[in-house]
Symmetry: C2
């Protein structure tokens, strides 16, 4: 078998066999197949597609490229969630404590911010001392003892995925639905998941900008899950406006804590309850969504979800006093409230525009090596469909640099569109 | 400007600007843009195409990546020819001496065999001592003094093309018409050509298997020539059966010598006279094709073309006694005449099958590093459309290995199809 023949077969729209895909992935990881062959192949895959069977074979080949976390004996059923990423998406910070408080132990490996999209690890690191580099033994022990883990992706799980992603990032081969699906699913399967709740974001602040693309990605991931013997449920949720109000690391942690305490924005709270209910069902703690939702609401109401978050932070070395008094977290030098320039109905709060402005403030990274400023970000006070009056607060900027503050003011202002016509609110979930 | 944005633009079927193409080619040659980005780009070009303007810009960017041979003062008008490669194509060995004998000085840089297709340099090296590594000064001096040069591609001309071709060869990105066109034209322009006669081969023994593809390649190369200010004429000729009778290095040199002496196969002689007439016209030695053809015929008849070949070989260090007595050239250990297994009309002599069998015998290279056996090859006695009788010689194998001889017998026999129906001969030229 020769790598070039596999590239040519895909170039000619052929369907690759499992043997061919295994050969290619193994050769890539071992270094026998050079980057320049893999990038040409990735471009052929992006432009010519892959079948669900090929995508599943690729997923499993990437799973087999490294260790597989075996959670047998640690939990009854290993449940995982994944969000395809968006702006203001701090769902994991709330959902994990809720389901853990409901008696479903959950250990999750998360990632860092990518482009305009925030990263769970960056958010959690707003809490001084919080460790995101647990090793496998620590992961298992904490999951067994505390019932909750939230750490970084272990490098020895699905290393082929990490290597392929780095290459795709610099060769224009990221937006391929089969490659995205296999990347997500390989990480979940390698991390031991038996049941997976996927939250695919749709909209201009997500990687899937259209409902059609999001549906295609969702269907493909569910098919991979089926073919790989993993119960997989996929939700499609809106990402045309930021989720909740807060965008930026410490600001989002604070909003997550508020939500765990029973406050927080209505849309975000609703989103978290919905995802939690699904997790409780696939994790067999609730017999249906209604029961799951009731359990989740109760976990917030009785304080057990918030308490689980404290347990999580303490177990991973974080300073719990920052959880108990979230005002202690890093605060930006400049806090400016920007007022609505006119009255009307909010027809748009451009999620990507807000996300990119937040990266520009320092909340995300322009380059991989950039440091993240945990304090900066925005509070977006209104949702699409709401009536705003001239002069009332539209958004608040938290910045550490006056020039960046001015830029952020202009760009987030232009991300808001206020009109005369009544606008319906955006849906939370599509399907 | 970032390389990844140029890849993405081509992935999205955008038209690259001259600045983008120059940036990409220069970055590649300097090593600033790594192979893995260039191969992803090449795959996007292969699958999404390039406009004639983009292809011309790529051609000129590759020309500017190295030295340009300036033949001003050496010749009145620098004329070059190029064949897109085939099986038994020893045209250059006959055409160059003819046109040089007609008073049109011609210096050509040729290549080695590629896959099933033979290479002019490999053929000429059948003559002991013949040098194919002239430097630029030697090239110019010999062209001025002898009026004829036939050597290898100088490494400092269009180095971007050489580097890109090596990468395309291992990444499944060879069969892209814009990339093939820019590769051919960049070499010709860098070698100083002001007028170019292109001989694009069509058929299963050529890189262009269909007339449509060959027409597309031809039209594109003529457009590049026009946009780059080079007079370019393109002929389309058949390569469904081998050209002439001989396939294999020394065997082809012998057939070329026979043809220069006024013998040789009718189809091959006709092909050479046709190409020579075009060269004499674009080189302004003949006012039209009729006159050019008359001059070419005369150069064969009066021995001046053969004499020019002797001059060429002597000038480049070759042993002329091998030209004067071509039976002195390397002979294979085994020479076996294979007879026609039945009577009928020859409906097919599969050029690619014969070409691949000749590589398997050792006349070509399976890997770049393989040595070429100059002695081995075939004499194909009949052309498509001819009547053959059972028991008469169908082809002759020249081999140095009994196992390979047996394999070649089987594969070349199956390349011949003899039927009962009368079959018209294949055309020599299509357009």
């Amino acid at each position: 078998m020769r790598a070039v023949d596999i590239i040519i077969k895909k170039r000619e729209k052929g369907e690759l066999t499992q043997e061919e895909i295994n050969f290619f992935v193994q050769g890539f990881v071992k270094g026998d197949i050079p980057d320049y062959q893999v990038s040409a192949w990735a471009m052929a895959v992006l432009l010519n597609g892959m079948t669900p069977q090929e995508t599943t074979d690729l997923t499993l080949a990437m799973v087999l490229s490294g260790r597989i976390l075996d959670l047998t004996g640690v939990v009854d059923i290993a449940v995982d969630k994944h969000s395809s990423g968006g702006v203001g998406d701090k769902t994991t910070l709330v959902v994990l404590p809720i389901v853990a408080a409901c008696g479903l132990p959950v250990g999750k490996m998360s990632g860092r911010g990518l482009g305009f999209s925030g990263g769970t690890l960056d958010k959690m690191e707003s809490i001084p001392g919080y460790r995101v580099d647990l090793n496998t033994d620590e992961f298992k022990r904490q999951l067994k003892e505390k019932g909750i883990v939230l750490t970084g992706q272990s490098l020895d799980l699905a290393p082929a995925d990490g290597k392929l992603y780095s290459l795709r990032d610099v060769t224009g081969t990221v937006p391929s639905i089969p490659l995205i699906a296999s990347s997500i699913m390989s990480k979940k399967i390698a991390a031991g998941a038996q049941a997976i709740v996927l939250d695919v974001k749709v909209g201009n602040g997500a990687f899937m900008e259209t409902l059609d693309m999001a549906r295609e990605l969702s269907a493909l991931m569910v098919q991979i899950g089926d073919l790989a013997g993993r119960k997989t449920i996929c939700l499609l949720s809106d990402m045309n406006q930021p989720l909740g109000h807060a965008v930026g690391n410490a600001l989002e942690v604070k909003e997550a804590i508020d939500t765990l305490k029973g406050d927080g924005p209505a849309d975000f709270r609703e989103h978290c309850l919905h995802v939690s209910a699904y997790m409780l069902v696939v994790g067999k703690r609730a017999k249906d969504l209604n029961e799951g939702r009731g359990m989740a609401e109760k976990a917030i109401a009785n304080g057990s979800a918030f308490e689980k978050f404290r347990v999580l932070v303490a177990a991973q070395g974080g300073d719990v006093s920052y959880v108990d008094d979230s005002d202690r977290m890093a605060r930006a030098k400049f806090v400016e409230v920007v007022k609505a320039p006119c009255s009307g109905f909010l027809s748009r709060v451009d999620a990507r525009g807000v996300g990119e402005a937040s990266v520009a403030l320092g909340a995300g990274r322009a380059k991989k090596s950039d440091a993240v400023d945990h304090a900066v970000g925005f509070i977006i006070h209104h949702k699409v469909g709401e009536r705003v009056e001239q002069g009332e607060p539209l958004f608040t900027i938290h910045a550490n640099d006056e020039r960046k503050l001015a830029e952020a003011r202009a760009s987030v202002l232009s991300a808001h569109i206020i009109g005369n016509a009544i606008v319906p609110p955006l849906p939370l979930f599509y399907e």
